[in-house]
């Protein structure tokens, strides 16, 4: 179903929205209608009642034709829907998760700051308890869906003396809260149709009941959210790689040099074999991570391995895809140059490849 949806609705506009840097609102609405924005959430909260495996395949299929659309779905589902589902009170789930899972509202997640990227503990955004409400001050950067989201999960320092573990808390922010605004929109190398913005908090008033989880639990919530988010980004990377692979195979069959199709040259066939092998290996790593999450087994290091490998595969495959297209691959007449630009971010966001290695190694040696 998602393949059909992606090919009919997403693929035809993918090149245009990339060129125009246009957020595809019309397709986000269609995704909501068919349940693509709430795949892994229970029906009682407006979700499709599916599992993480189905969600991974959804993001892959969307990203196969448009990585921007894939990350819109992934950030919304993994980074906003999931923490609400996992840590929200019954009231919070009813009020915030249900419209997110139905896709009536779009979600985003605010952790990264100008000086707190990989070192996510270095939060400078402050939340002060004003008795009857929280007051937030600070700024977040590189927030996916920032310009179009209605609901944000944002972490802020509530008690600096307690440091990263214990001093940071998570909050549910509505876009209309006084003192909240969206700052500059980033002009990016790839995933140009997705919205990446700053979030600005100036004496932002947040109701007491919008604390997500317990006070001081924010870092834990953020890290757990990213553990799951990595399945989404790994799936996005896999989709990009698969999409580039598919168009390259078709191109190689059609392209003739020296009197025969370039698919007939063994040197190029070997490239295709390497690409295909890495794609399938990525897919199995992702399915393993999603399956472990569905079975409530430890999945953090597995989603890190999946993301690390799938992101590297996306870069490897798209770079080869451009090469195999020759000069045409370097032009915007073919989708592989877009896919190569889109692939790079998968090695950076929701934990750089280096962070994934820290997570994996920490699990090996214990921490």
């Amino acid at each position: 179903m998602v393949r059909k949806f992606a090919v009919n609705e997403v693929e035809p506009i993918a090149a245009d929205i990339d060129k125009e840097h246009r957020f595809p609102t019309e397709n986000v609405e269609k995704m909501a209608r068919y349940g693509l924005l709430g795949v892994p959430f229970p029906k009682e909260y407006g979700g499709a009642g599916g599992d993480n495996m189905a969600y991974a395949i959804t993001v892959e299929e969307l990203s196969r034709v448009c990585a921007s659309t894939g990350v819109i779905c992934s950030a919304h589902t993994s980074l906003c829907g999931w923490p609400l589902f996992a840590y929200g009170t019954e009231e919070q789930k009813k009020k915030y998760l249900t419209p997110i899972a139905k896709g009536e509202k779009l979600g985003a997640f605010g952790l990264t700051e100008p000086n707190a990227g990989t070192d996510a503990g270095g939060q400078q955004t402050r939340a002060i308890d004003r008795g009857d409400h929280w007051e937030l001050n600070g700024a977040k950067v590189f927030i996916t869906n920032g310009g179009f989201a209605d609901t944000f999960i944002v972490v802020a320092m509530t008690d600096k003396s307690k440091g990263t573990r214990g001093g940071i808390s998570a909050f549910i922010i509505e876009k209309d809260f006084p003192g909240f605004s969206v700052g500059k929109t980033e002009d990016k190398m790839g995933i140009c149709a997705s919205s990446t913005t700053e979030l600005i908090f100036q004496n932002c008033i947040v109701p007491k009941e919008n604390l997500l989880g317990q006070i001081g639990e924010g870092f834990k919530i953020a890290m757990a959210t990213l553990d799951g988010g990595r399945i989404g980004i790994a799936s996005q990377a896999l989709g990009i790689a698969q999409g580039a692979f598919d168009v390259t195979v078709e191109y190689m069959k059609a392209r003739k040099q020296f009197g025969k199709s370039i698919a007939a040259f063994q040197g190029l066939q070997f490239e295709i074999a390497d690409m295909k092998t890495r794609i399938e290996a990525s897919r199995l790593l992702i399915y393993q991570a999603a399956d472990r999450k569905d079975k409530h087994l430890k999945y953090g290091p597995y989603s890190a391995m999946a993301k690390l490998y799938a992101a590297e595969t996306a870069m490897y495959v798209t770079t080869k895809a451009v090469q195999l297209h020759g000069g045409y691959g370097y032009t915007k007449d073919y989708p592989v140059e877009r896919m190569m630009r889109d692939a790079k971010i998968t090695e950076i966001y929701e934990g750089t490849s280096e962070v994934q290695k820290i997570v994996i190694a920490a699990d090996v040696f214990g921490r």
Partner: protein
């Protein structure tokens, strides 16, 4: 209004994926994916649109086919149909349109009361366009084929029927049989949540005995149709040249003809 709608659908090979055997000149069906017949998707979509408007509408999808036709019924349920029934039995195999409509009419009688039967105009594998009208005859209900527009007001249906060179606007009472063409609507996709619900639903399988059909009315042996030769039709010949005194007249004449043929 609490309408009861039956949609007749067929699982067909995806002819976009079918290749021709260059030597035998026949279709290679091995490994070809099976899909919900296109016109039948339009038929289901129209029923679903009625359900979108009137929540108490009940849609049952009916098909006759091998056991794997269940996959297509699951797709119909995932799009929003309430129920699905599969008529399947070795005794029904090889039925032509007459025998098929006997079996489907029997199934519809077994389902019980209905207001509208929607069927696709024709299946992309057989292209006969006979089963829908034959069912209507056997159930003795009025029918309108080639429906391109549908409207229901106070239990009265008004449809637009496409003819080769124009349209008919027809008012029809219920119960009735309507056959859909692709211009009627754009079928929706399956809903993700619908897929999960559909796989949990029980799909009853009715054999010849359950349908209560006589074995002289169904199956290959009882089918009056015999295929004695298959051939590729000859080309359509040359087109029509329009002439006129000025370009404007020619353009106008062209516009009229294109409209007649529903090209625009």
């Amino acid at each position: 209004m609490a309408l009861k709608i039956i949609v007749c659908a067929k699982q067909v090979p995806d002819t976009n994926e079918v290749k021709i055997d260059p030597i035998k000149n026949t279709l290679i069906r091995d490994g070809v994916p099976s899909i919900l017949n296109h016109d039948d998707a339009n038929a289901l979509e129209e029923a679903l649109r009625i359900k979108d408007m009137y929540n108490d509408t009940h849609i049952t999808v009916l098909t006759m086919g091998p056991p794997q036709a269940k996959d297509m019924l699951i797709e119909c349920l995932a799009m929003g149909a309430d129920e699905a029934v599969l008529a399947s039995d070795r005794a029904l195999g090889g039925s032509d349109t007459w025998a098929t409509s006997n079996a489907l009419a029997a199934a519809i009688r077994k389902i019980g009361a209905f207001d509208i039967i929607f069927a696709g105009r024709q299946a992309i594998d057989g292209d006969t366009a006979q089963v829908g009208p034959q069912i209507a005859e056997k159930l003795d209900i009025p029918q309108v084929t080639y429906v391109t527009e549908f409207e229901i007001v106070d239990r009265e249906i008004i449809v637009k029927r496409a003819l080769e060179d124009g349209y008919e606007k027809i008012k029809i009472g219920m119960p009735c049989m309507l056959t859909a063409i692709k211009e009627l609507n754009e079928p929706r996709y399956m809903y993700i949540g619908g897929i999960y619900e559909a796989t949990k639903k029980e799909i009853p399988v009715w054999g010849a005995a359950a349908l209560g059909v006589d074995l002289t009315e169904v199956g290959l042996e009882s089918s009056p149709t015999n295929v004695f030769r298959s051939f590729s039709p000859a080309g359509k010949g040359k087109g029509i040249m329009l002439e006129g005194d000025c370009d404007k007249d020619v353009a106008k004449a062209l516009l009229i003809r294109l409209k007649e043929k529903h090209a625009i």
